[in-house]
């Protein structure tokens, strides 16, 4: 009985992570196929050679397209995680209660002497390990953002130079690419959409509801209630 229920229970207990993991892989595969076709259509239009799918998957063009979206998504969540420590939004379930801005007390955060028996070990031990663990989510998100943005700059420069050589122009250095409009166009077009989505989520959730979602206030909760999730 327990054995047959175990897989179903695993799916139920991890549905959110599994669902997004699955649609991530499907979307990445779709991006790869669509990007491959677009790349080869452009090559054909310019009377240049086409790439096999495996060559395209290891190309700078694909790497830059993937990395530029990854960096912006991780930046979005990094900023949201850190900004909501100090910045408030009256009436939003995305905000903390209005008197809780800041890092909060050790008691509220259950660290050091205030840790409970089931607190993670690094929350109990105090010192540098507790400090690192207190910031670990932001540190890892920030690290992934930084590595993705670096990957975007390296792959983006290679893809940009491939186009420049097709136009019979000299390639440019990585440092020159960091100041180039192509790098900032790729970067900022992603950032603006992420900032808009997060900002509108914080504000729209003041007045709008999604019944059953922890990202929303309960349907009947007052518009003025802050920091209450459904």
């Amino acid at each position: 009985m327990t054995k047959t229920l175990a897989p179903r229970r695993f799916l139920r207990d991890n549905g959110l992570g599994l669902f997004f993991g699955a649609i991530f892989l499907l979307a990445l595969a779709g991006q790869a196929l669509a990007g491959w076709k677009t790349f080869n259509d452009e090559q054909l239009a310019d009377s240049l050679g086409r790439l096999s799918l495996s060559d395209y998957l290891t190309s700078a063009t694909f790497a830059a397209d993937v990395a530029e979206n990854w960096q912006s998504e991780y930046l979005q969540f990094l900023l949201y995680i850190v900004a909501t420590v100090w910045l408030l939004q009256r009436g939003s379930p995305e905000s903390k209660e209005l008197d809780k801005a800041g890092l909060e007390s050790d008691e509220e955060q259950k660290v050091g002497d205030h840790a409970t028996s089931d607190s993670p070990r690094w929350a109990r031990v105090a010192g540098i390990r507790t400090t690192v663990f207190s910031w670990s989510l932001s540190l890892v998100m920030g690290l992934i953002f930084g590595v993705s943005w670096l990957a975007q700059s390296i792959a983006g420069r290679a893809a940009f130079n491939e186009t420049r050589l097709q136009r019979l122009q000299d390639p440019i250095s990585w440092t020159a690419y960091l100041g180039n409009a192509d790098f900032w166009s790729r970067t900022l077009q992603n950032w603006q959409s992420e900032f808009l989505a997060v900002g509108s989520m914080a504000v729209l959730s003041i007045y709008l509801r999604q019944r059953g979602s922890p990202e929303s206030k309960p349907v009947g909760e007052a518009h003025t209630s802050t920091g209450i999730e459904g």
Binding site: D46, S47, G49, R50, A67, W70, A151, A158, L168, D170
Partner: protein, 136 residues
């Protein structure tokens, strides 16, 4: 734990992007340089049939259409200056720029190998190179 999985994927992505400057295998930068040197050597030797075989299809077509003659005849009449010593190569994806003393050659990768896209090229400030021979 999942964060480490993402980091591993990112590591692969980064190493992939670091390798993007140079292509792998026989179609890599060595092939690009060999094609460019083979072309300039064939032109210097007067072996224009061999040089024509190293041209990209569109470059060859434009040369023939412009001159109204077969490639080897048209190429001979171009009187391309003989390239001197190889200086350096820059390879990005399907494209490479091969510099010789006194000439720059642009080569592009097809499934069957590298071909010359443009040759006899001189730099023009703020603009594309001015090439005696070019396609695309």
């Amino acid at each position: 734990m999942r964060a480490w999985g993402y980091l591993a994927v990112l590591g692969v992505l980064l190493s992939m992007s670091l390798g993007c400057g140079a292509s792998a295998g026989s179609a890599g930068p060595g092939g690009a340089q060999a094609t460019a040197q083979g072309f300039t050597q064939a032109v210097s030797d007067g072996n224009h049939a061999q040089a024509c075989s190293l041209l990209a299809p569109d470059t060859k077509a434009q040369l023939e259409q412009g001159a109204g003659k077969p490639c080897r005849v048209a190429l001979a009449e171009e009187n391309l200056a003989a390239a001197d010593a190889f200086e350096n190569i820059a390879t990005f994806g399907t494209m490479a720029q091969v510099r010789f003393a006194g000439d720059t050659v642009f080569v592009t990768r097809f499934p069957r190998g590298w071909k010359v896209l443009a040759a006899g090229c001189s730099p023009v400030p703020e603009k594309p190179y001015d090439c005696r021979l070019q396609g695309g």
